[in-house]
């Protein structure tokens, strides 16, 4: 492995995190709830950023498993939010059209944001339908879905909010539409 020292600059800027401050105490990895499922834990991800291992990172599934709980950043002695760095890596992966490491995570994310962009607020039923179709997984969570419906948690009809154009302006301001396979 030959280190590429320019990548850390790019990622630090994009994530607004000073990745070079990390001294690999591994407190973030220790507290991360998703770490047991990641092939690279948060501290390892930061190290790979530092070493410029861009391909490895963008193709990984680990960067898609972060749940954004911010335990890492809260506990980091150097105030580095590893989650923010992971977010930046996701952005780069999407921008470079890398096949997403955890496809279903991305599809849920897309379905969720699409719903908000359309109605101004989340409509679970249509969001779930989009997620199930795009993730090509129709049958898991059916039992949970039925239980929620029986408890009145699934509203059949969506509601468009009053200030919808303000929400859509937010979407326009924060980035281009990205199409991903």
């Amino acid at each position: 492995m030959k280190p590429d020292l320019t990548f850390v600059e790019q990622v630090s800027e994009l994530s607004h995190q000073n990745v070079r401050r990390c001294y690999y105490c591994l407190r973030c990895s220790a507290g991360c709830p998703a770490a047991p499922f990641m092939e690279y834990t948060p501290a390892q991800i930061l190290r790979l950023v530092q070493l410029g291992q861009k391909e490895v990172l963008l193709h990984s599934s680990a960067i898609w498993l972060c749940i954004g709980c911010e335990t890492c950043g809260t506990r980091c002695p150097n105030e580095i939010h590893a989650g923010a760095v992971i977010d930046a890596l996701r952005q780069l992966a999407l921008a470079e059209k890398v096949p997403v490491g955890e496809r279903t995570v991305w599809k849920l994310h897309e379905a969720f944001l699409d719903s908000i962009r359309h109605w101004g607020r989340l409509h679970e039923l249509t969001m779930l339908m989009q997620y199930k179709l795009t993730s090509r997984d129709l049958f898991s969570d059916l039992d949970m879905g039925l239980a929620m419906f029986l408890r009145g948690k699934i509203h059949p009809l969506p509601q468009r909010i009053a200030g919808l154009e303000q929400i859509q302006r937010l979407f326009a301001m924060t980035g281009k539409d990205v199409e991903v396979e």
């Binding site: 492995m1 030959k2 280190p3 020292l5 000073n18 070079r20 401050r21 001294y23 690999y24 501290a43 390892q44 190290r47 790979l48 530092q50 070493l51 291992q53």
Partner: protein, 571 residues
């Protein structure tokens, strides 16, 4: 008949908890010559001492036994109390019934009590024959000798000289400054080492109390604390010999760097572009061989990729030095930052195992190298450095990512171990200072007496004792100077009288006592041909008295008669 008083201490529950002190007092009252015995909670306290003084007067005591803790704790206290009441200090003895009875037989009350009684009985037997003694007063030469003209030696010399005492500073080479004179900018501020040193050198050279001898070496040290006789030889156009009367000696002989040729796997000694820390410092010096520019030794080009290898020869019990050389983590951070300042477009990589940055501002300094100067710190020990296609390939592992890493370097700097000077053992022999398992000069106690050696009057300062950086060296040098000054502040030296003496009538001149003495305190009188005792060096261990076939040699207040009485009392 001696009138002996016995004072048994409870020491709170330290003694009374395991020993039945009241019964002890009852039993010891029965011993012959004991005219008074009492127990008390804390004998060392003011009322406890008052008790001793009062009863010496009231009961007209000639001698006192205090049954309490170890003599190392309070022998001096009780001797002073006795003296204050009018008996000679050496008529007071301690019977140790705490460390030797109560503390080691806690659960056996009956046995502990019996042992306490027996211990006191033996001390009473001794005290019965104690003589009143007076301490010896020895003259003291108030001139110091400092071996080594580096930063440690210079600091010690200045501190002693500033206190008004003359100092002889002996330096082997032709200049002062030691290894510090080979450094460039120092951490944390990149202050110029020669600049800082010059201040000290000027102060030393200008000082009326300091005599500097360069190109000089100490060739012989005789005598003892307060009265050393030191022979120095100085090499000029001719050899000049000096003989100095010296009261205290400070060894500040410094360190050497582990030869990089021992690190063959790193190409040390094989490739010109594999250098050590001091060689890199030399490059940074404006007056150095490259005029202050960072250049590859092989072709004079500017290196674009520089690798530092920490722990090169340190922390390696199997092959090299087991210990940590202490200064390398810091100077490598400094050198890598200096390199980035000289060659802003260059890459610096540091291979380390741990980072030891234990000083004020040190941690932040190392972080600065990583964050601001973009030095890549890789945790993992380098396996191999080899030449390939005009550059040096460095093989290591990034343990944090778990991946092997390869760097194509133009220059490799090995942070080699700091080792004792090649002649440290000889210096030790000269000064009667032992060297430790690594060859560094041994301190008297690692925690509580770091600047003294076990030889009275010989002190240590600086890297000769163990690797250390400049702030610690200066602190230690001043510490050694303080020890010297505390010695010099005495009008005379006091020596305990409870040491060996020779009865000239009985001594046959066999000389057995001389090799028996661990302190070099015995000699044969030049023309009388009987044994003599150096009262300044003798520690009263009685090894000589034990070997003497004629009983000519005895230790005061521990005569053969006393020892045998103690044995009989016990039996």
């Amino acid at each position: 008949m001696k009138r002996i008083g016995i004072f048994v201490c409870h020491c709170g529950t330290n003694i009374a908890g395991a020993v039945d002190v009241e019964r002890v007092v009852q039993e010891i009252r029965k011993f012959p010559d004991v005219v008074y015995a009492v127990d008390y909670k804390y004998m060392c306290s003011d009322p406890g001492q008052a008790l001793i003084r009062d009863h010496i007067r009231e009961d007209r005591l000639d001698a006192v036994v205090v049954a309490a803790c170890s003599p190392t704790m309070h022998e001096a206290t009780f001797r002073r109390a006795g003296e204050a009441a009018g008996i000679n200090a050496y008529q007071t003895e301690i019977a140790n019934i705490r460390e030797q009875s109560s503390w080691v037989h806690e659960k056996q009350r009956e046995a502990a009590t019996q042992k306490a009684i027996e211990t006191i009985q033996t001390i009473v037997a001794k005290v019965r024959y104690n003589q009143s003694l007076t301490p010896f007063y020895l003259p003291l030469v108030k001139r110091a000798l400092v071996l080594g003209g580096g930063i440690a030696g210079m600091q010690t010399a200045l501190d002693v000289a500033n206190a008004g005492y003359p100092v002889v500073l002996v330096e082997r080479t032709d200049h002062l400054g030691g290894h510090m004179a080979e450094l460039s900018g120092l951490y944390l501020n990149f202050d110029s080492a020669p600049g800082l040193l010059q201040r000290k050198i000027d102060a030393v050279m200008d000082h009326p109390n300091i005599q500097v001898l360069t190109n000089a070496a100490v060739v012989d040290v005789g005598g003892y604390v307060g009265n050393f006789i030191v022979k120095v030889e100085q090499q000029g156009e001719e050899m000049v010999s000096y003989s100095f009367d010296i009261g205290a000696i400070v060894a500040a002989t410094g360190y050497d760097l582990y030869g990089k040729e021992h690190l063959g796997e790193y190409g040390g000694g094989r490739y010109p572009d594999v250098i050590d820390g001091l060689q890199f410092e030399e490059m940074l010096r404006p007056d150095g061989p490259t005029g202050g520019k960072v250049r590859r030794p092989s072709d004079g080009q500017v290196p674009q990729e520089v690798v530092w290898v920490q722990c090169a020869g340190s922390r390696d019990p199997e092959l090299h030095m087991a210990y940590c050389s202490k200064v390398c983590c810091m100077y490598v951070a400094k050198q890598s930052m200096a390199y980035k300042q000289h060659v802003p477009g260059g890459h610096a990589t540091v291979f380390y195992i741990d980072i030891r940055s234990q000083g004020k501002g040190y941690e932040e300094f190392v972080q600065q190298a990583m964050e601001e100067h973009e030095v890549l710190y890789v945790r993992g020990k380098v396996s191999k450095v080899f030449q390939e296609n005009g550059h040096l390939t460095v093989w290591g592992v990034d343990t944090l990512a778990g991946l092997p890493i390869e760097v194509e370097a133009d220059l490799v700097v090995l942070a080699t171990a700091t080792v004792p000077r090649h002649d440290a053992w000889e210096v030790g022999q000269l000064l009667r200072v032992s060297t430790d398992e690594h060859g560094f000069l041994s301190e008297a106690h690692p925690k509580l007496r770091p600047v003294e050696s076990l030889t009275a009057g010989v002190f240590l300062a600086g890297a000769a004792q163990f690797p250390k950086d400049i702030p610690e060296t200066v602190a230690q040098a001043s510490g050694a100077a303080a020890k010297v000054l505390s010695l010099f502040s005495l009008r005379q030296m006091v020596q305990e009288p409870t040491i060996a003496y020779v009865d000239a009538e009985l001594c046959s001149g066999c000389g057995l006592c001389i090799p028996a003495c661990p302190y070099d305190a015995r000699a044969m009188h030049e023309w009388r041909h009987i044994a003599t005792v150096n009262t300044a060096l003798c520690q009263g261990c009685a090894a000589c008295a034990t070997v003497c076939p004629n009983k000519a040699c005895q230790v005061r207040n521990l005569t053969n008669q006393q020892v045998l009485s103690m044995v009989e009392a016990y039996l």
